[in-house]
């Protein structure tokens, strides 16, 4: 997860708090972020069984507004934005003309002509430049990189709702999955969204940066007695893997399309033209050459990103994410394999540092939470 960088690392408004409370810090996409508080496994299990509190202020926010904002987003993003009512959130792709990912994003409809895109930390500049270039002739629409206006706290796990509800007038139980509401949390102006990146029920709370620490402390005080713990990016990564949520830079990037990533559901097939549509439609009709699959190792070992996948002597793909995860307690992962071999139940071999290790292709997600607490 550590990446060499010469530029000074950016700090979220909670950086001092993380350091003061013993987080192990590390570089991630140009940010100095908490990787672990009490340990990846402990934090991971807390989120599956109770709740975890994450600082995800490194995520970027791009706002788009204007009478033509909807039309522009219909062209720039893969999903059908017209299906969003004010207060809804939609998972979508910002794609190149080749149908590959500039980024995967969440689109929030703040108002009829006002949208917020939550984008990956390492992609803010690339996304903004791409979007700005695409809206030069799009009529009445502006795009603004609003990342510095938001701190974002994620509260994830079956006890997330109970931890936050005492702090807010927003009716959290009434908030549908992938919906948001404006209100206050711990007397701080906030937007509360029922979204997350862990496979659990949970919320993401957007607050002004100067108030982030107050909200962080209030949530710890409210949820701590019942087992909520602060958590870092390490657990966030293992949680999202169990839930088979793709990570830009690992599982999807500018060389892969939503069809190849098995994310056809993030494409608005019935809407009009959009950037990358021709490639996606062609892939849908005649099939892509490869597909992202989930696997579970049958032999001992742990497959990691970059390990090659074989069927017999033929190299058929490569691992994009893999580790041994704390809740399932299995070595699992995702890999792109050529389409003829992307068959659930089929056996593949993964070259783990020179050792062929058997694995089975399994349906994703690897983990699905027992119930929806909607």
């Amino acid at each position: 997860m550590e990446q060499p960088t010469s530029a000074p690392l950016k700090k979220t408004p909670l950086n001092t708090r993380h350091r003061a409370t013993g987080a192990r810090m590390g570089a991630y996409n140009g940010w100095d972020m908490p990787l672990e508080y009490s340990g990846i496994a402990h934090e991971h299990m807390a989120v599956r069984t109770c709740a975890g509190l994450f600082d995800v202020s490194h995520m970027g926010e791009i706002e788009m507004a204007g009478r033509d904002a909807l039309a522009a987003l219909q062209r720039i993003t893969s999903n059908d934005v017209s299906k969003l009512r004010v207060g809804d959130v939609q998972y979508s792709g910002v794609l190149t003309h080749a149908g590959t990912f500039v980024d995967d994003v969440l689109v929030y409809r703040l108002g009829p002509d006002h949208f917020l895109l939550v984008v990956n930390a390492g992609r803010v500049a690339a996304d903004y430049d791409w979007i700005a270039a695409q809206i030069t002739d799009a009529g009445d629409v502006v795009a603004v990189d609003a990342s510095s206006r938001y701190a974002v706290l994620a509260v994830q796990g079956p006890a997330a709702l109970e931890a936050i509800q005492p702090l807010t007038g927003v009716d959290l139980r009434g908030l549908k999955h992938h919906a948001f509401a404006h209100g206050e949390v711990a007397s701080v102006r906030a937007t509360v969204s029922r979204t997350g990146y862990t496979g659990e029920d949970g919320f993401e709370i957007f607050v002004p940066p100067q108030s982030a620490d107050k909200v962080w402390q209030a949530i710890l005080a409210s949820g701590g007695p019942s087992g909520l713990v602060p958590a870092g990016l390490g657990a966030r990564d293992t949680l999202r893997l169990e839930a088979a949520l793709r990570l830009h830079g690992s599982d999807i990037d500018e060389t892969t399309t939503p069809v190849e990533a098995d994310l056809g559901w993030m494409v608005g097939w019935d809407k009009g033209d959009f950037t990358g549509a021709a490639v996606l439609r062609a892939q849908k009709v005649r099939g892509a050459d490869r597909k992202l699959i989930g696997f579970q190792l049958l032999d001992a070992g742990i497959a990691r990103s970059g390990h090659e996948v074989y069927v017999g002597d033929v190299k058929v793909g490569a691992v994009t994410t893999g580790t041994h995860t704390p809740f399932l307690k299995k070595a699992i992962g995702m890999a792109y394999v050529s389409i003829g071999h992307a068959v659930a139940g089929a056996e593949i071999e993964i070259d783990i540092r020179g050792r062929r290790t058997r694995a089975r292709i399994v349906p994703m997600p690897f983990y699905k939470r027992p119930t929806y607490n909607v």
């Binding site: 997860m1 990846i40 390490g234 001992a300 742990i302 990691r304 580790t323 041994h324 070595a331």
Partner: protein, 124 residues
């Protein structure tokens, strides 16, 4: 955690405890802290002969994989098979959890390894 005075240590964060010609080898408390939750340990076969500094296996945590290096030359006479089901013992009890036992040809092999004070200073 303190580093046992009877052990020797390597700069690669292995410990070694020599009794007669038998040497228990494990990883240090510092190593397990850096690794985080250990989930898999891949060890050599009994009978393998290791050169000093040779990789004899890997230790994997959720986030990373690390090579294990032989602190001394020797023949593998025992491997800790209990780690297959309980790799987390490396985290909870690093200095009581040996990975392999080597039969060491000569006590002189231990020359040049760090003592506890030197190692503690290295990871300070």
């Amino acid at each position: 955690m303190s580093y046992p005075a009877g052990f020797k240590y390597t700069k690669d964060h292995e410990w070694i405890e020599l009794t007669g010609d038998r040497a228990k080898v494990g990883v240090t408390d510092y190593a397990q802290q850096q690794l985080g939750d250990v989930v898999y340990v891949d060890l050599p076969d009994i009978g393998d002969t290791l050169k000093k500094g040779e990789s004899f296996g890997t230790i994997e945590s959720v986030k990373a994989v690390s090579e294990l290096y032989a602190p001394v030359a020797g023949e593998v006479v025992e491997v800790n098979t209990a780690l297959k089901d309980k790799p987390e013992a490396v985290n909870s009890n690093p200095h009581d959890t040996w990975l392999v036992i080597l039969k060491v040809g000569s006590p002189a092999e231990m020359d040049g390894l760090l003592d506890a004070a030197q190692y503690a200073d290295l990871v300070k």
